[in-house]
């Protein structure tokens, strides 16, 4: 096996950072959007639903390109955010944004499914006891959809770890800044004779993701038992 390049560890650390931040940052809007899609009827609901699914439907490269158009240094969102000190273009934050966007549909779907399974009778019971909609959401609906949120977060994390097309298109492949594991794997794949590095990186990817999966399964089992009160 090839000696392990410091760049490899950099990519591992960066990928973890990107995937964790992408997942964490996607959670609040993911929960909100899932809630809105399930519980509210508003004009544009179907449009929002479509928008959420877009990153799944489009080739990742297109998503990345659209992100570049919007959040790039010349893009409208990029220019609007820059004075606030928020810069995505060619930063690890942009990689996280790309990964988060790509993972978003998975997150939303998982939460939606769980939300749809919550018994409205329990929410009604909470309401009769004086809990406003917000409190019901926080104390009853929320805990009951936790398994769905976790499932969504795991999917999102896995997806964020594996995201490549949108990331490299949006923020390029800058070692230490935006070169995630998949980008590194891609780069090595393009280089004559770098197969052993590819294998190493793939194994590292798998190891990390499997670890995360295992932990999540454990948590999820406990969570499900907790929610069901078993």
């Amino acid at each position: 096996m090839a000696e392990i390049d410091p760049e490899v560890w950099q990519a591992v650390r960066l990928s973890l950072k990107v995937a964790i931040w992408a997942t964490l940052a996607a959670l609040p809007p993911g929960i909100f959007v899932a809630y809105a899609l399930v519980r509210w009827r508003f004009p544009g609901r179907q449009f929002l639903n479509g928008l959420v699914h877009l990153p799944l439907i489009l080739p990742p490269v297109v998503t990345g390109y659209l992100l570049l158009l919007a959040f790039g240094p010349q893009g409208p969102a990029g220019r609007a955010l820059e004075p606030l000190g928020i810069v995505f273009a060619f930063r690890w934050t942009g990689a996280a944004l790309a990964a988060g966007v790509m993972a978003f549909p998975l997150l939303v779907r998982a939460i939606r499914l769980s939300l749809e399974a919550v018994d409205p009778k329990l929410e009604q019971a909470a309401a009769t006891l004086g809990a406003s909609r917000l409190w019901v959401a926080l104390t009853v609906t929320g805990p009951l959809v936790l398994p769905g949120i976790l499932a969504g977060a795991v999917l999102a994390f896995a997806k964020a770890m594996g995201e490549f097309g949108a990331t490299i298109t949006f923020v390029s492949n800058i070692p230490g800044e935006t070169q995630t594991l998949p980008s590194a794997i891609y780069a090595f794949l393009q280089i004559p004779g770098a197969e052993s590095s590819v294998v190493l990186l793939v194994l590292i990817s798998i190891a990390i993701a499997m670890g995360a999966l295992l932990v999540s399964e454990l948590i999820s089992r406990r969570l499900a038992a907790w929610v069901a009160g078993r």
Partner: protein, 235 residues
């Protein structure tokens, strides 16, 4: 302070080595971002923080030049490459200039190439085959990949009996053998142009470009199978 180089993915390692010697000489850290030329070009167009761009084909560099993203006078053709027909163990050992590709592919074999209308290696290959009068016969048999390394992989794992790739790729893959080297005049010249990108670090970018054209870098490129070009700077 530092220098960011956007380079076609296949140049990553060679450039990294050349950059290391540059860093040793000047103390300037060089970061190489490797991806598809089209991706990088679009990013530069959109304001990516690149100081130097090395493209795998002139088309994208032309586009940046048109849009005024290059530092005037810094564009130079850096490297050349050769196109080869490869096969794996199961293929005929060599083909003459009168090659009959369709026959060589057998009844259901595929010819692996990069996208023939989009990716440079595919475009060159298609041009060469057209020149050789073979394109008509094989166009329906071509399996096009998103990049030339994927075409190489198809041949390497035996999924396709034949493929057209760069000589540099063939050289690095022990599972394939070169069956035929296309003459350089059969297709538009394979050129990797390099240029400095307009921005903050133009001086250092020029220095780096000079370094790439210098002897140390040439040796590195040769070692990786590329053909350093000895053009003089244009303009």
């Amino acid at each position: 302070d530092d220098l960011t180089v956007f380079a076609a993915a296949s140049l990553r390692n060679a450039l990294a080595e050349a950059a290391a010697s540059f860093t040793a000489e000047t103390g300037t850290n060089v970061t190489v971002s490797a991806a598809g030329s089209s991706t990088l070009a679009r990013q530069i167009e959109m304001g990516a923080p690149a100081d130097v761009f090395v493209s795998a084909n002139p088309g994208w560099m032309d586009r940046l030049e048109e849009r005024g993203r290059l530092v005037a006078g810094t564009r130079r053709d850096l490297l050349g490459n050769r196109l080869v027909l490869i096969g794996n163990g199961a293929s005929p050992s060599s083909l003459g200039p009168d090659l009959d590709l369709a026959a060589a592919l057998g009844s259901d074999g595929r010819l692996a190439m990069a996208l023939v209308d989009a990716v440079p290696a595919g475009i060159y290959g298609k041009a060469a085959l057209t020149r050789l009068g073979q394109w008509e016969n094989v166009s329906a048999r071509v399996a096009q990949t998103d990049n030339v390394r994927a075409a190489l992989a198809l041949v390497a794992v035996g999924a396709a009996p034949l493929g057209i790739v760069y000589a540099t790729d063939a050289q690095a893959e022990p599972r394939v053998s070169v069956l035929y080297r296309f003459a350089e005049d059969m297709h538009p010249p394979i050129i990797y142009p390099a240029a400095a990108i307009a921005g903050a670090n133009e001086d250092r970018a020029r220095a780096f470009l000079d370094h790439l054209h210098g002897d140390a870098a040439r040796a590195v490129f040769l070692e990786h199978g590329f053909a350093p070009l000895t053009d003089t700077p244009d303009g």
